[in-house]
Amino acid sequence: MFELLVLLIKVGFVLNIALVLGSLCTWLERKGSALIQDRVGANRAGAFVESDRWYLKPILPVIRMMGWLGVINTLLCDSLKGLWKEDFVPEGTSKFLHAVAPIIAVMPIMLAFAVLPLAPDFYLFGYRIHPRVAPIDAGLLFVLAMGSVAVYGVAIAGWTGNNKFSLLGALRAAAQMISYELPMGLVFVALIVVYGTLDVYSIVEQQGDLVLGFLPKWGVFMQPVGFVVLLLAGMAETKRGPFDLPEAESELAAGYFTEYSGMKFLLFWLGEFCEIALFALLLALLFFGGWQIPWVQLPEGVWWAALLGHFVLMTKVVFFCVLQIVIRWTLPRFRYDQLMNLGWKLLLPVSLANLVLTAIVKVLA
Amino acid sequence: MSSVLTYVGLSMVLFVIGAVGVCLRRNAIVVFMCIEMMLNAVNLAFVAFSKLHGNLDGQVAVFFVMVIAAAESAIGLAIILSVFRNIESVETTDAGQLKW
């Protein structure tokens, strides 16, 4: 019974983290893009709110501040708008698949969060708590598998759009996601060679050690090429940034979700932002030591150390979210052949060579 | 043991469904998918037997079946595509000529 309760709390916690990071990315995208493009961005909704209710009085400044920062606009008003919009279904397609596609697009991303640890293990009331939902042995492979299942939401969405633009967007997205999965998988293999395990928790644990006496054994120092490849492949997987060919609005209206409106449309967006957060979390866990602070040894199994580790991890995650959003708003979109060339002719050979080199170093050392 | 044999029974059911599909359907791609389902049924039986025997040989066999299925799907779909280019159809009944 206690185990079940702990599991439920963990599921709620992980889902909460995923959604909070997703909405944080939404806000960062709105305000960040405004900053980059020298605009002001959302700053009205809730900024001038007045109320005589006694229970609202003390938090009025906070609400005004949030409104001024655009938080209320991007998170509350936009979602409410989505809920009240007409739910449009194009003629001549399967209504069922049209409704199910956004769910299929979001679900694998949420599932991938289940195998990723969010803090070091700790003891509470004598129980050892693992802060992840599913401590499975093939954690990294599971993330990869969920990435490949995410193609279906996009493919179904494009097909149920029942027009050329949606279908083209879906085909582009599927081709792009499959192409960039290969270098991603090869980077994972190189990491497995370095750390000798597929378990993300154990990989993070090992990153607390030092190499050469002073350098933290972080993935970015062990696998610098792998880090760059995974960053690029991850951004291509999220179909954003310079890789947003599937939804290129100047060519394809909105790509695979052209025919979606209301909450279904927002669900695609939520999935996309959660995927950004997922890749930020992966980068932080695999390459930047997760919850490890360099040269600092936190005591093991204590709850405050776990909490501190969690905040350290989240700081890194937010940093990578910001990095992805900055790249997305800085670089122009690729041409389609450039995208495929980058994937197949650059990233794939580079990651293969990286893997071979890693294996040679591992054998010699 | 009986619980593992249930998996074998399930694999038989899946195999029969796949075989029936191969016999009944005329769309070459659906026939191809039914063959994949039959392969999967056999894989399931392999895994169940590996469980019963207590070694991993069955699971390794499944791994190889997956490799072959991947190669087969690439070739098979390419064949279906080139047939479609020639006769504008993927129905097996339409591909009855030996020469065109």
Binding site: - | M12, N43, A71
Partner: protein
């Protein structure tokens, strides 16, 4: 077989029937995806973790996406012609069942000889973790493993050769924009 794996098995059977029964090939493909994911779940319940994940990666993630690609590109209509007759379906079912049932007696004969204690011992020792499968593949089956990579290479080359369009000599359009495969 507990409740969850029973439900997964039922999902596999129902989606399998859908693959055969649905007339639109695209729906068949989606049903097959569900079927493959369900079989992956069954692998996981049989402690074959590596196979469960690679089933999702290889079958659901690669093969079925390829099939979907082809189906969407060809834009096929539902299967034409007359409906499948009941007699035909029944005959196929009976024949298929008979073929498979003929395999049942040897299986039962083989496993009825095993004592239940050896079986429960065996069940403990056949957990298909990544390490265990990898050790088998790279020691006992290393030659087959390399041959499998060769098969994949031949598959790639063959697929490219087959799917390559011959005679792509598209004439330059009058507007000056050149169409073509390059």
């Amino acid at each position: 077989m507990n409740v969850i794996s029973f439900l997964i098995g039922m999902t596999a059977v129902v989606s399998g029937i859908c693959v055969v029964g649905l007339r639109n090939p695209l729906f068949s493909a989606f049903a097959l995806v569900v079927n493959l994911l369900a079989v992956a779940g069954l692998y996981a319940s049989l402690d074959a973790h590596f196979l469960a994940v690679s089933q999702v990666v290889v079958y659901a993630g690669a093969i079925m996406v390829l099939v979907l690609f082809v189906l969407m590109l060809l834009n096929l209509k539902s299967e034409s012609g007359r409906r499948l007759g009941f007699v035909r379906c029944a005959t196929a079912l009976v024949v298929g069942c008979m073929v498979v049932m003929s395999a049942l007696p040897p299986i039962l004969a083989h496993f009825s000889g095993m004592s239940s204690s050896t079986v429960s011992d065996n069940m403990m020792s056949s957990v298909g973790t990544v390490q265990a499968i990898g050790r088998e593949l790279y020691t006992k089956y290393v030659a087959q493993f390399e041959l499998a990579s060769l098969v994949l290479l031949i598959g790639i080359v063959g697929a490219v050769m087959l799917a390559k369009r011959k005679n792509v000599e598209l004439a330059p359009r009058p507007g000056g924009l050149v169409g073509g495969s390059k």
